[in-house]
């Protein structure tokens, strides 16, 4: 079974550039660098009638995180705050599609034991704080307890997952796939 991190799902959104801002861009849309890979995986799963899973409740902060990543390095020279708000708004609206396109797994807040595990096995991560956020742990807990006889894949760009991928596999039976390699699964 294939479950996705919210940020990865948001990275499959193609943002349309409003007319006023087109003078600053070569293309009419903005996409994440892994966009085509994520879409390719979505299509492959669709063609094989394999459902996609995600974890709820949705963490709204992820919209800002993904939005900021997509906007990084762009050279908009007019009404910048509005450009930002428009991009965030499109990501929010993308939520309607997300709502109906994934099977939901409820995040599990009983994370004390999992947290202890990561504290005991702390690693030095490159981009993120060493210990996964509580929200990440609620996902691991929920996915671990979700009954399925299939291999559990979890696609994420978050180092809190792929930085511990071998441990997450051996301890929780979840195969973490880095977002940028998701088309290879």
């Amino acid at each position: 079974m294939y479950a996705f991190d919210d940020c990865t799902i948001l990275n499959s959104c193609e943002l349309k550039i409003p007319g006023a801002y087109k003078i600053f861009f070569k293309n009419d849309t903005i996409t994440s660098k892994n966009f085509t890979k994520i879409i390719a995986l979505f299509q492959r799963l669709n063609n094989s009638n394999v459902p996609r899973y995600r974890f709820v409740p949705f963490n709204e902060e992820n919209i800002v995180t993904v939005g900021n990543q997509l906007l990084q390095g762009l050279n908009v020279q007019m009404l910048k705050a509005n450009f930002r708000a428009q991009m965030m708004s499109q990501l929010q609206e993308f939520g309607d599609w997300i709502e109906n396109s994934f099977i939901k797994i409820e995040k599990n807040k009983n994370i004390d034991d999992i947290k202890r595990f990561f504290v005991d096995n702390e690693r030095n991560l490159i981009k993120e704080r060493n210990i996964p956020e509580d929200d990440d742990l609620t996902i691991i807990k929920a996915y671990t307890e979700y009954e399925s006889s299939e291999t559990k894949y979890f696609i994420s760009h978050d180092e809190h997952f792929w930085g511990y991928k071998d441990l997450i596999l051996s301890e929780f039976g979840i195969k973490v796939v880095e977002e940028w390699k998701c088309d290879l699964t």
Partner: protein, 266 residues
Amino acid sequence: MRLTKDEAIALVLSFSKKQEISSPTKLNKLLARLNLHFIPIDIDFSLNKYGSFNANLGALETTPFYQRETYEYKGREVSKFILKEEGRKLAENATHKIKRILKSIEIEELQEEINSLSELQASQISDEEHKKLFVDVDDRYKLIERINTVHVNLYDLYREMDKIDQNKLEEINLAALIEYCFYLSKYLKEKRFKDIENAGYEFDAYMLDYYFLYGLEIVIPVLRGQLKEEKKDQILINKYYQYFINSAWGKYPFSLDNNNLNRLTA
């Protein structure tokens, strides 16, 4: 969020006395009134002698949502509009839609206002609108004063924009709203109303110019308040942001979808 023409008509009819409106002119006025409540609608209004006007509304025929009926009034044949069952469902959808931008109490106030206005003559409704928007030549000095005050106040707020953290969606929208309002006021002052002092009554003027200026005056204290609040009011900010952005979208020069907007912000 923007109400379609049919959604707006169904909403206004559902709020009116007996769920009917006694003339196309009155329908015009009541639909235009949604602008004063910051509800973006997909209907363009221009200025005629009696205020906001859209010629297409006069030619409306019966649809699955409302019935156009003719009746005799003072020896003249006039039309009225009556909400149909499908229209009631559409009005419910429209109400659901506006809940994203208006609080329940504001929707109730809107309902009461439309209900009471629906009993007035169209001319009484437009008189009231004229007074609020300063469209009359006699009120020109008030209009100019409004433009200048609004622009100066928004300039002050624009200079404070950097104080907003922009880590949350409501903070991002607040910054965008301040920025948009400031540049919109600049456009109104320096381009649209530049020579208004010597102009006559603006027949055929785009009503959004007047609605926006009125709206900017209303939004200034809200922006000031929200700048100070640690926890921003998402619905409140969204209400004004959606109104300015979506009312302009696709039909007004100062719009984020205008490919030449850079010429208006310079």
